[in-house]
Symmetry: C2
Subunit: 371 residues, 2 copies
């Protein structure tokens, strides 16, 4: 289905927006009240550039929630279901956030900028309100706000070469989930080895929105000899790589244990954190649902699924949902993510497409991030 | 600029979505993580239908935050900057919500469904997280969740006839900002005289998402003899009618006093509420900025502005932003909403369009809701 999106000041443009338009932007979506590029008109080439060369993504919509002040660590630690003790400045941890009932409300990367300064680099929900409310109601001594920070992702096998050519050979030594604050041609940046693909690369956290076009153009120029291509988070690649998408994969009502984020929970922590009691109880009882990756039978899907499809067991009973279905070049098969009842997870089931076809879903793996 | 939006399970479809498609939906935006219809391809006719006949809008994206339990009133009252004392069941109050610094975070309608049950019918931010965090951290005895409720708005001079033909003559007695819970052909509904236009009408809060198509079709059939037309919130009409749009008009960092919502603040309340201290201080000092409606010079705008334009005083100094600029049929002029420094508000200023034209902004009024 072809639907246009009207632009207006309710949904923010990023500092890189004019560059996106100049490069032939065709599809956008909305993420954290900001436009996010989805395609430049050739998804197959965008996939290839990411897998074989280097791809440049405006992910400004990964907004930062900055926590700064004497209680910054205590607050970050209390809202995080993963222990943040022992982080050094320049380190990142991927940390599920839950509500008090143990429901996942976001899955940010946490960056430690200083002993009293953290960023939560968030998925699509207003974590700013959550953290502000908790801080204020607990009387914590810190400031919580959204800073002028706009990540630009450079992803793919030649991403390191591109960023090294731009910033220097030193970037090759930045470890995965490590970052360095720097400046280039007067542009303040946090250079982090991270990104929402399995192909490696960096996220450049621009700290001055007025320099967006400068940064984009510098990265573009550095990447030209490596075949840089404009893109955005790439649906089939991220499923192939086992990267979780909050909301897309689970809606708003799932738990980290259901969606395969259990390894990022620190349930043996002795300190209190939001959701601890509920998560411990769920851990004991076992999650009621599981997120799985499955191969789907049938003709090659020409479009990604537009909404969840029902998952059915052998008796035709509803057992969950196929959340996202698409074509996978890697598997040369239709590939899907499904959130299904735990007894079904690991086994085959069926699903029905909007045009009435019944497809068989064959278990590939339990979904989870290798981080 | 023409940009498409890809569909997928990250952004929810409403229970009315298939009806929108059947009626020729062409433009959608995203609001509260849900698709919201923006146009069916003929904005001029959509405006005319709203002004002269009756228009049907899927506003499911106005999500409800339900608060239910012994502490429901205490919680709603604490998060609301407007006093909710004295509300009767079946009444609505429009109530700004602020953070602890007095910044506006949403401007819901509050519906009192029972002494221990409230809905916040919200604008575009995750108030669910805010209210849940406050409830849990204060140890309040109530449940906070998003119920299966999807508002369908029937707006325009023939909206009352349409809804009366469908549900009965009794609806004519429902007062403005009053509601009645009812059922029609087995469809559970809350029938509320409200809506985001100045043309009158109802919002039908569907309480069973599986009946979306049934409700849409019933309303459509009732409205056919009145010339019902599909539409959505209508930008120029809402500015003409002085209806505030959170985020569009102010971004994420304004106060209720700045944007003309002062009359909905109960600053003389003796009980504590979030933001009270900051709002009292701002009230004493006077807001630094004001939201104003202005007429803009120049050729008729063919499109609504895509992002804020700078507002400049006579010396060319930046004094704020033109947040939204569009053509107004009512004023037969370009019309805009601007958030400008208080000394400038009430006077003329200039703005510069993306193609470099300087336009004169002539003061029309200080923005505010007549509710």
């Amino acid at each position: 289905m072809t639907l246009q999106i009207p632009l207006g000041s309710r949904v923010r443009k990023s500092p890189f927006f004019d560059a996106l338009v100049a490069h032939g932007l065709t599809h956008v979506t909305v993420y954290n009240h900001m436009l996010m590029p989805a395609s430049f008109g050739d998804p197959a080439e965008e996939y290839t550039a990411l897998m074989e060369r280097v791809s440049l993504w405006d992910v400004s919509c990964e907004r930062q929630v900055e926590i700064v002040g004497p209680d910054a660590f205590a607050l970050a630690q209390y809202v995080s279901a993963r222990d943040l003790e022992g982080m050094r400045v320049g380190q990142v941890r991927y940390a599920p956030l839950c509500d008090h009932q143990g429901t996942l409300i976001n899955d940010p990367m946490v960056l430690k900028l200083a002993d009293d300064q953290y960023w939560l680099s968030i998925a699509d929900s207003d974590v700013l309100w959550w953290v502000k409310a908790v801080a204020a109601e607990r009387g914590m001594d810190c400031r919580v706000f959204e800073p002028d920070v706009s990540p630009l992702a450079v992803q793919g096998p030649r991403a390191e070469d591109t960023v090294a050519d731009l910033l220097g050979e030193w970037v090759r030594k930045v470890p995965f989930f490590g970052f360095v604050a720097t400046e280039h041609q007067g542009i303040p940046l946090v250079v982090c080895r991270s990104g929402w693909s399995g192909q490696g690369g960096f996220e450049l956290f621009l700290q001055d929105g007025s320099r967006g076009m400068d940064l984009w153009n510098l990265v573009w120029a550095a990447g030209e000899k490596y075949g840089i291509h404009p893109g955005g988070p790439t649906l089939n690649e991220r499923i192939e790589s086992g990267l979780f998408s909050y909301r897309a994969d689970c809606g708003g009502e799932a738990t980290p244990l259901e969606v395969g984020l259990g390894r990022f929970l620190s349930l043996d922590r002795t300190d209190d954190f939001i959701g601890k009691e509920a998560l411990l109880a769920e851990h004991t009882a076992g999650p009621k649902r599981r997120l799985v990756t499955v191969l789907l039978s049938g003709e090659r899907l020409t479009d990604t699924s537009e909404h969840p499809w029902p998952a059915l067991d052998a008796d035709g009973q509803a057992v969950g949902e196929v959340r996202v279905a698409t074509w996978s070049p890697k598997h040369e098969s239709n590939l899907a993510i499904a959130l299904v009842a735990s007894p079904v997870a690991g086994n085959s089931f069926t699903t029905i497409t909007p045009d009435g076809q019944t497809l068989t879903a064959t278990h590939l793996n339990f979904f989870g991030l290798d981080r």
